[in-house]
Symmetry: C2
Subunit: 252 residues, 2 copies
């Protein structure tokens, strides 16, 4: 396990910085989390799958607000025109025909009530705190750091490639229709990650900024990791569901 | 387990509102958390005790900033004069002679390095997200809601009364000197909680505001609960420490 706190010391070339950013993903992206291994090995209970879907909804739902915050900090019209595609991807034409709607479909296909999912009231507090930390980061840090924090999308096609075939193979209640959300994501994520990586590499012109980019990506990996930690703790063993959160017996 | 989302429906008398607030504490304050039971029963490893101290430091360290945010929102000089005592309690005369310094003493008495604790770099990301959520809440919500979220202090003398005698009795490496932080807290917390409760009861003049007060206290209980969830998950069983967080073997 690397400590990335001094990774840019002395300054890095563009290819060296890219290599460090990819190393952050190799070591800290949430496809390395035990909950993900349990998901892809078929070990999750249906209640855990439901809890994953309804907690992850909180993350999906905040993405366009996060991206709007980034737009609001961007002075370059060409940057804004490229970045606003992300909002269109998630909200769709009318707010409910994009990625958020497809995630809601995933959740309801697992037997959850749409209004309960959309209300977010059954999510783990730890999920809300992690998602809120991501929004706060993009609000309070520089545009450069907010863009760098989005670079987890570099690794998104990887985890989707691990997740989707395994979910279809291991859980008889999951169909291709359930997982329609993921059909478009690899292409969107690759397009977005290419843009963001090019931006970060071309703007990381000092060792300090390079370190900021690395720190932002570590921070974002921490967000995704903490969300799975919270799920694993609350639903991986009996007796740990915090007050007010989704209790499987009340829904299934 | 109560659902407090409609607890103020139709409006409550002052004594009814106070009773609901106390019920929130009875059901959701973190003296009901399994990690607290393990602490008071003598079951924590020293590594868990260290992890608790260094993670809780992040909470202690943000309290004066949270209170300064509340001061910044308060237009009444008499309110500010009362509330600023909290900042003095935590920072002391020179920044390092108040509650934060005494918490640091607690941590170093457990064998932790002062600079490592103060840097907060070994804290669990989930701790940072929870503490950040508390600061964001007090920044973004109304003064009334921020004051209401402080009402967990009503229950603080209770948990200290459970914690201190048990820690002294059950852990041979813990002395009265280790726990000097707690000597002054019950008196300070009672003074502060009396003030905040009187403020909330006198300003909760609609059912909507009463519900806001209840929601704020539930939110704050969620913060404290999530911090212990994260500790329990990371350090209660092997293999769960997230990347970058305190690893006992490297310090003890």
């Amino acid at each position: 396990m690397s400590d990335f706190r001094d990774a840019a010391r002395g300054g890095l070339s563009k290819s060296e910085l890219e290599a460090v950013l990819r190393q952050v993903g190799d070591e800290r992206y949430h496809n390395r989390h035990p909950f993900h291994y349990r998901m892809t090995s078929g070990a999750l209970s249906k209640a855990e799958m439901q809890a994953w879907a309804l907690n992850r909804y909180c993350y999906q739902a905040v993405i366009p607000r996060k991206d709007a915050t980034i737009l609001a900090h961007a002075e370059d019209p060409a940057f804004r025109a490229a970045w606003r595609k992300r909002i269109e991807d998630h909200d769709g034409e009318d707010g409910w025909s994009g990625g958020i709607a497809r995630w809601l479909h995933l959740a309801t296909s697992l037997g959850l009530d749409a209004e309960a999912v959309k209300s977010e009231r059954l999510a783990l507090p730890a999920t809300r705190f992690a998602v809120g930390a991501y929004l706060s980061f993009c609000t309070n840090r520089t545009l450069f750091e907010a863009v760098a924090s989005s670079l987890t999308e570099m690794f998104s096609p990887l985890i989707i490639g691990e997740r989707v075939p395994a979910m279809l193979a291991k859980y008889d209640y999951i169909t291709e229709d359930t997982l329609a959300y993921f059909n478009r994501r690899p292409e969107q994520a690759s397009r977005d990650a290419d843009f963001a990586l090019a931006y970060v590499l071309s703007h990381a012109d000092t060792a300090e900024r390079q370190q900021q980019a690395i720190d932002a990506l570590v921070f974002k990996c921490d967000i995704l990791w903490a969300m799975l930690d919270a799920l694993q703790h609350a639903y991986g063993a009996p007796g740990n569901i915090p007050p007010g959160a989704f209790r499987p017996e009340s829904v299934q």
